[in-house]
Amino acid sequence: MADKPWVAFYWCASCGGCEEAVVDIAEKILDVVEAVNIGFWPVALDFKREDVESRPDGFFVASFVNGAVRTSEQEEMVKLLRKKSRLIFAFGSCSHLGGIPGLANLYSREEIFDYVYRKSPSTENPGETLPAENSRENGNELHLPEFYDRVYSLDQVIPVDYYIPGCAPPPDIVMNALEALLEGKLPDKGAVLSPNKALCSTCPLNETKPEKLLIRELKRPHEFQADPEKCFLTQGLLCMGPATRTGCGERCIRAGMPCRGCFGPLDNALDQGLSMLSALASILDFTPQEKEELERVLGACPDPAGTLYRFSLPSSILKGKRRL
């Protein structure tokens, strides 16, 4: 036990799917446990903060952190893990790019609290109680972590060494990362551990894509029965394939759904949403004289920010909505 390397797993603003993804490596997890000691994994085993604090700096060979950073507690924990770990792996879309929770960057903290604790139809809160960092209840002082005004990807809070992409990362991507770590075959720091190619290049429907892809209409997946064996873009469905990194095994495509972009942008793209916007502008077959017609067709995409930045808003150039 003594000479096996120690690893840690932690979660921040996430759904728990990434924790599932660790278990999804199935029986291979036994090989992993054979090779490492798990020194911190609060979701699965009984660990406390002290189990990290009491360790010397650089004790863990690697920490796998999933989830975006939204609260002061999460910030504190990832800073602690950074100190105690030689390598930090951002695990999954939320920690890599900000993820779905990152869409909250379209709203301020006040707007979120107002909706969640006052206006949402399922909320009953007659006293209009809002979470407060400090409060008193029956003579006891209560403290809650600060809820920041925006969501951060992990590398906006601490330096990150490697990224394991995906919502959630598929088992082979997780296993490859673990094997590379254990065999000392990791690439240069800063790498996203998935091929730097667009999803379209590995898509099973790629051969059904015409030489020159042009579309005259946009559709939404619930509006019609898409042909699961034909390139979704040619059918007018907004598929993020052209702007998204591959490596996912085309799970969504094989299940009859267009790509939503969870693997994030390719290495040379600054901003996944804008890459897709640019790709879309190139294939929408409208002349300048047909401007009104184009505006009408774009009505089928009522939420461009939510669609183009479904997983990557906090790590985009603008990072979220500009507010006063």
């Binding site: 910030e75 640019s278 774009l298 603008l318 909505k321």
Partner: protein, 138 residues
């Protein structure tokens, strides 16, 4: 008074040549516009526009050839489609869509460069400075 910063991407074949013409004709116009020459308005990647806003531009102006006159046949058609998409995105991102403007200006329209730069500068002045990113925690 707030002096707006405006980044202008002008295409080499039409609008930039028109700006040159405005210059040699000794026309004067708002000094707020910083012109960047690109080979085609179709080369103006949305990333360039958003990056300009992010780095402190209060307005972004794109100038290209009139439809049908593009040196590369239809580069400006793509520009227009990107511009329409970008405007929709900008309003969701809390940036007034009016801060982005697209104009077709041919090589002979030096006067139009002067008018558009002046008009746009006044319009952006009216909108005031672009909201800066909120920094908090993290």
């Amino acid at each position: 008074m707030h002096e707006p910063k405006i980044i202008a991407f002008f295409c080499n074949w039409c609008t930039y040549t028109a700006a040159d013409l405005a210059g040699v004709s000794r026309m004067s116009y708002a000094p707020n516009v910083r012109i960047i020459r690109v080979m085609c308005s179709g080369r103006v990647d949305p990333e360039l526009v958003i990056k300009a806003f992010d780095l402190g531009a209060d307005g972004v102006l794109i100038g290209g050839c009139h439809p049908g006159d593009c040196h590369y046949q239809n580069g400006n058609h793509k520009t227009l489609r990107r511009y329409i998409l970008l405007k929709r995105l900008l309003s969701q991102m809390g940036i007034e869509p009016e801060r982005l403007r697209l104009e077709w200006i041919s090589a002979s329209e030096g006067e139009k460069v002067r008018r558009v730069c002046n008009e746009f500068t006044e319009q952006i002045r009216g909108l005031g400075p672009l909201r800066r990113e909120v920094k908090n925690g993290g």
